[in-house]
Amino acid sequence: MEVGSSLDRSRFRRSIRRHGWPLLLVTPVAVILLLFMYAPILDAVRLSLTDASLLRPGQAQAVGLDNYLKIATSKEFWGIAGQTILWSVASVAGACVLGVLAAVLLTTHRRGRPLRGRVIIGGLILAPFVAPPVVSAYTWIYLYSGSGPINGVLNALGATEPVYFLGDTVTKILGVALPLWSMIQVGVWHGFPFFFLMVAAALTSIPVELHEAAEIDGATGWRSFRSITLPLIAPVLEVTIFLELLFRLGGLDLPFLLTGGGPLGLTNVWGVFIYQVGFARLEIGYGAALGVVLFLICTPFAIWYVRRSRRQLAGF
């Protein structure tokens, strides 16, 4: 035992001497992530077991699993969870389709000639990705408003009543309230440039000859896309869909600015709900519990992602 530990120690010392430089370089990243990402998550777990409130700082009482029971039995929460899933999945799906379409259109070479003007068109397509959410959210609110330009078009097309895209509490499409659909549309608009970027980057690495060969074999359009393009972009697509889904599940800028969860909670999503509970109702403990549950739900997917990426990133 003694011998073993001293051996371990000398091995440790030797390893420091040999690997000191990379270890030194990697220390800031590791320390920052451990102290300010992983420790706060543990802190969230601690907070979630108390009734901490910003109204009475420093007077938190341990309440066991009460906050989690509150979540499980809250009708409000389950509605929000469903809306969160729909908002995330639908906006990512729409963004994926439009983003891939844009990338294919702008990068596919036809007989060695890419689309002219693709740099400008590509730059314009990036706009939603770059514009500050405050700006895009309020402009969409204006576009959607009862006397706004979209209703102007509908009116010109013969609609008699204005459509309240973000305020209608009655109209349902496929069982989902209209404001949620309107929010999903903004999500698609906001998300598709990211898919475009990722897929375009992957597509430019596909040799032109591959498509030319397929064209000679008579495979064009949809078939060429299915049999050549899609398999080649599948890995990138997989990761992008995953990252975007997590971003939607945990993000709150757009939903918060667009509707703030209203009307009548019809567009409320998990992120906004955590904000409301933690910073409007000031129930920090309950808010932390909501965060922890979201984290736990995301963890299996995160592990899948880490494993997959490490497999791909392995090797030098």
Partner: protein, 294 residues
């Protein structure tokens, strides 16, 4: 160019199939332009609202093309809200976030791209896993952390938090870039020639990796400039308020139709820096996204 092509008999044989495709080429163009219009729709509306006469805004269903153009809003907005202060605050936040974030990410990314060392895989897993933590989970614990440290509404609050959020992604981008852009041989040769380890990093790796560093810097900069919700929580006071929060408060205070052009003018000024950055340095963006998977 076309003339010389046509002159060659081999090329002329190709002309016919090209014409057949031109119909599809047109369809591809139309679809691409349509997508660009969709992407630009809110920005278009923002610009025409900023310049159109107020009278046009008081009517129901404003037209899609402004009847007149006025530019006084672009001056007035600077007096209506302390936009210059907000811009400066945001610029300071962006500057510090980028400097710290890119430095930390470049060092870590370099170590992870070049060296096999104990804990290598663990650190990589740590970085990858952080990418998948929903931001909102950190909202409450991070707020209490900053609160306990007495940092709420100080200049340090935002750069600190943004750096932490930006570092994992930037590390992955730079790690990928270092692996892809050039081989180790150059660094090994420099070492043999007596260059120090730090010298290799400073004189060879970083200068050769400018596109990658630039790409990471851009992503961090745009994120730090645009972020709204966290900024509204930890930097709400006027002397540290950033552009997004300032603009949002402006809607609350003057949210009437008469003030719409003014607000939109402000929105243009706020949206302009990231847009200009992307237009000028667009090629760096795909550099970053292209390598995260390598």
């Amino acid at each position: 160019m076309t003339a010389s092509m046509a002159a060659s008999p081999v090329r002329t044989g190709r002309v016919r199939p090209q014409r057949r495709i031109s119909g599809r080429r047109f369809a591809a163009y139309a679809a691409a332009v349509l997508l660009a219009c969709y992407a630009m729709l809110p920005l278009y509306w923002m610009v025409i609202t900023a310049v159109r006469p107020v009278s046009e805004l008081l009517t129901i269903y404003p037209s899609w093309f402004p009847g007149g153009v006025q530019f006084d809003r672009f001056v007035k907005i600077w007096q209506a809200i302390p936009l210059a202060t907000y811009m400066l605050n945001s610029a300071i936040v962006v500057l510090f976030t980028v400097l710290i974030g890119v430095t930390v990410a470049a060092l870590g990314g370099y170590a992870l791209s070049r060296f096999e060392f104990p804990g290598n895989g663990a650190v990589l897993a740590l970085v990858l896993f952080t990418q998948t933590i929903p931001t909102v989970v950190l909202l409450v614990p991070f707020y209490t952390l900053l609160h306990d440290a007495g940092l709420i509404n100080t200049r340090a609050a935002l750069p600190l938090s943004y750096t932490i959020w930006a570092v994992p992604y930037a590390t992955l981008i730079l790690r990928g870039y270092f692996k892809m852009a050039f081989s180790r041989d150059l660094e090994d040769a420099a070492r043999v020639d007596g260059c120090s380890r730090f010298g290799v990093l400073w004189r060879i790796v970083f200068p050769l990796s400018l596109p990658g560093l630039m790409s990471a810097a851009m992503l961090i900069a745009v994120f730090a400039w645009n972020e709204f919700l966290w900024a509204s929580l930890v930097a709400s006071q006027e002397q540290v308020r950033t552009v997004s929060v300032g603009l949002n408060q402006f809607v609350g205070r003057f949210g009437t139709n008469e003030n719409l052009p003014l607000w939109m003018a402000g929105a243009i000024f706020v949206a302009l820096p990231p847009i200009i950055l992307y237009v000028v340095a667009q090629r760096f963006v795909s550099v970053g996204y292209g390598v995260t998977e390598r």
